[in-house]
Symmetry: C2
Subunit: 370 residues, 2 copies
């Protein structure tokens, strides 16, 4: 049954223009198909070390990087459990669904959590951040760099220094930006910068990574009931010998090492960031030509996922299913934004010419639906 099933089910004949999981290059798929040794072997530790060192370069940091067997949500929960003491307050700056989720994680873990709810489509601007910080004394501030649900990119280079000035630890969910958009962890002073790998890293899902500052590790030592599975300090202990406390997703880590090598030694990490910027710009130029208004407020549009509003009054569901018939997967708006908006993911290994080819076909589909 497997053959029949997987011929039907697989994405191999689809071109994914999705905000994750994204298209995975053959070099990664081939590497993942190699047999693995155990996670308590020399070969594993060599690989682990390469992963950590590569991540530090991608994040412009000397901070320790950790490997989690989880999705990004696991590390979002780790931030909450490791960094917020019972007598402290945390601020969640939410500009969309993943900001809401982080706040919910705070609440569900019994932490004193405040949500600053910013209208979907808008960014957390310096003025908003200053105002929110003035309302109370927060030990930790959590926010997205790129909000995958709205396609808004927060002005992290401007707002993180403001948050740091307040004395709070700052945690950044860089899930749909890490390895696609330059985030300089040490320059900005980010305490935890986290992501899963099925977005700009162009790996299959099943692995999440983060950098952790020494201030964050020190803070964790004071926080009670951190649990064990997501405990920064337990992970740090084994990281020192290039291992993880529990069995990690070896195939994905092997794929990560292959991709880091590609970013750093073949494409060039700066070129990678520039390519993502061009992908974003090209999509916005196309949208303008099509009279599709961008959902994000001007100046805060993401370069990894573009969200467009239904200003041309066509059936987005129909448009998306027609594109699927042509073997292209683009996606509807997130949750209640479905049909009011749709999204094109342009992250990972997508080239400008692949994007333009897809946009040409999408142009035809839209004109047929009009």
């Amino acid at each position: 049954m497997s053959d029949v099933h997987f011929n039907k089910a697989e994405g191999s004949k689809l071109k994914l223009f999705t905000p994750g999981p994204v298209q995975v290059p053959d070099r990664v798929l081939n590497a993942m198909a190699l047999a693995n040794d155990t996670h308590r072997s020399g070969p594993y530790s060599e690989m682990h070390k390469l992963a950590i060192e590569g991540l530090q370069k991608v994040l412009y940091t000397k901070n320790e990087c950790l490997i989690f067997t989880s999705s990004a949500t696991g590390i979002m929960e780790a931030c909450v459990r490791n960094l917020i003491s019972d007598n402290e307050k945390a601020l969640f700056l939410s500009i969309g669904a993943f900001g809401d989720r982080w706040y919910q994680i705070g609440v569900n873990n019994g932490k004193n959590s405040t949500k600053a709810e910013i209208e979907w489509g808008k960014a957390a601007t310096p003025d908003i951040v200053k105002e929110e910080l003035s309302k109370d004394n927060y030990a930790v501030v959590c926010l997205q760099a790129n909000e995958t649900s709205t396609g808004v990119y927060n002005p992290v280079n401007e707002i993180i220094p403001i948050i740091k000035d307040s004395g709070a630890l700052v945690c950044i969910d860089a899930t749909s930006s890490m390895a696609g958009v330059k985030i300089e962890v040490d320059t900005l002073g980010i305490d935890v910068c986290l992501a899963s790998v099925q977005k700009c890293f162009a790996l299959p899902p099943g692995l999440a990574v983060c950098s952790v500052s020494s201030a964050a590790f020190d803070k964790a030592k004071e926080v009670k009931n951190r649990g064990l599975y997501l405990d920064f300090l337990d992970l740090q202990k084994k990281n020192k010998v290039n291992q993880t406390p529990n069995t990690p997703p070896i195939p994905q880590i092997r794929g990560l090492v292959v991709q880091l090598d590609y970013f750093l030694n073949e494409e060039g990490i700066e070129n990678r960031f520039e390519r993502h910027q061009r992908l974003g710009e090209r999509t916005r130029i196309w949208a303008k030509k099509m009279d599709l208004e961008m959902f994000p407020e001007k100046g805060y549009e993401s370069n990894t996922v573009s969200t467009m509003t239904n200003t041309i009054n066509i059936d987005f569901s129909k448009m998306i299913s027609t594109m699927l018939d042509k073997r292209y997967r683009i996606v509807n708006g997130y949750g209640s934004l479905a049909n009011k908006t749709f999204r094109i993911g342009h992250m990972g290994e997508i080239t400008v010419s692949e994007l333009e080819e897809m946009l040409e076909i999408l142009t035809e589909v839209i004109s047929e639906l009009k």
Copy 2:
């Protein structure tokens, strides 16, 4: 660098007789190398459904099965967080390192945790279990089926009914036994039966699975501060539409579906259990011939991992490294048991003839070291 690195690092030329991660068959590696669609697609949901239905058959249960992006330790923490209220006590029956870990998870999560520490090498017998249960009133009891660190298999068929009689919920870590040893979840009344897939399932690591009884789901509704990432109820909600709340490890799930199909429709699940039993028996016969005493007390030896004591006074580290030169990986005793014991994993896809071939070579190595 990737090529050079992976030629050195990979296990492809090694034969793993390890207690996990184990050797992965080509059918799985090939399936994992296929491109993936997104986790919010019809094809993913089809695959998810096949995985859940297959797991229910392997576990002889009608209980709902859940898929976690975590190692088994993640679900051990989920049991603690979902099932133990603040005013309740939990009992951890520990016969080795993984029992100790589960207790530590209870403590680290601030739960009222009691450890019944049973001497390493011994099992949690009905008498011991009755005595421990008589000491206090426990809402939840957690224990290993197979303890990977000692190679002891607990008499779960005898002790679980005793625990159920006490009124406690019972959680079983079946990590190194699920899909290799028959555990009838519904007949025994196991509330949570959990495992990771890099043991008897013969998949690469990065995925953990469990069955959850309706009593356990009901209990979770009453427990506060369950968090979000490991919340049974959040997973259950999305499971109803054959999805997960967060992005799951798609390649491993695809591999799981391939393996479940193989177990149920090709090898036959009962044949699979019998093969593991023969592997255990053959190893014990060999050990006796070699004057290597089994570490577990008689009658409680595991059929998936054999732990042997150094009754022949040879250098186990040297023996293991010599075997590695011959491309066989066997492993040393766990933690403080290193050199006092060593372990042979015989789980997953290993055949009796492959085991005998390895044991023949090991016999030669031992005689050279004597």
